[in-house]
Symmetry: C2
Subunit: 160 residues, 2 copies
Amino acid sequence: MSATPDIRPAEQGSKQRLRLWLRLLAVTRKIEAELRERMRTEFDSTLPRFDVMAALSRNEQGLRMSALSGVLRVSNGNVTGIVDRLAEDGLVMRVPVAGDRRATLVRLTAKGAEVFARQAADHEGWIDAMLAELSADEARSYAARLRTLAQRLDDKGASE
Amino acid sequence: MSATPDIRPAEQGSKQRLRLWLRLLAVTRKIEAELRERMRTEFDSTLPRFDVMAALSRNEQGLRMSALSGVLRVSNGNVTGIVDRLAEDGLVMRVPVAGDRRATLVRLTAKGAEVFARQAADHEGWIDAMLAELSADEARSYAARLRTLAQRLDDKGASE
DNA sequence: CATAAATGTTTTAAGTATGAAATAAATTCT
DNA sequence: AGAATTTATTTCATACTTAAAACATTTATG
């Protein structure tokens, strides 16, 4: 029966986690805003376009629309418009899938691959500069911690 | 002149930081998606609406549109539509500023404050559950690290 | 084989995002 | 005071976002 008030550990933890989330959100948004701005001014492009091209770059044989939206974790309908615009610019192409006339495969064109390579190099450099404060070891350890956290979130999501 | 190949520490660090960024983005998006989904199903609302109400809740006397967009770090024009819809629902009101007919103050209505209180309590609970894996101390230390990182990013942005 | 169910994609409706242009009002300058 | 500039907000054009509906095609089932 001390005179100090109860700290109520559960509630305390909740506040700490809320604070962490708000900071996480703030940092992520700030970095994203910077990347978007640079994509816009230096490549006249956007992050979603870059994300799509990155996914296609890792799958040279192409990806179906559904696979693409799965990889990027955005809704199916969303990818349609982005691919439309990339196709208009000649950066990707739609290829029919033999034996399934519902599906289409999306692939980078030669021009698309070339453009993406340049963008990816700069993109990595921008991030490196923004996170320069973190040592390689520190970056590695945080990435590992986030990995287990993401895993846990995935498990939870799957069980619901 | 050893036979082991150069590791090129700078490039290594760059890859680690890129990986960290991608994980950060993945975790943030996953949590955001979960919060959005819950806001939608349980309160028929959205995160941007919640963010605006949270900012107004911290400033009972009200905020100008420009202050609001500054706090939320979204563009000015964007906030107009969100406040419009909140006003339609009777959750916020626009109050003229005495002595400056250009400006308007936005404030939570009584109903808005009441609705927000309920949403905020649940919101904190959702985050607490998603980050339950982290101890209060761990959350605190990560939050502190992110704070210095955010500070550094702000400094950089200001100098450009 | 014909219909029902499932799958792959696009379209639609509503909301959110940006940057830039437009509008309106206040302040500063001459 | 009158003109030029700055400040506060809205409007506009375009892109991205989701969820849900619509459409087309394939696979499964009776």
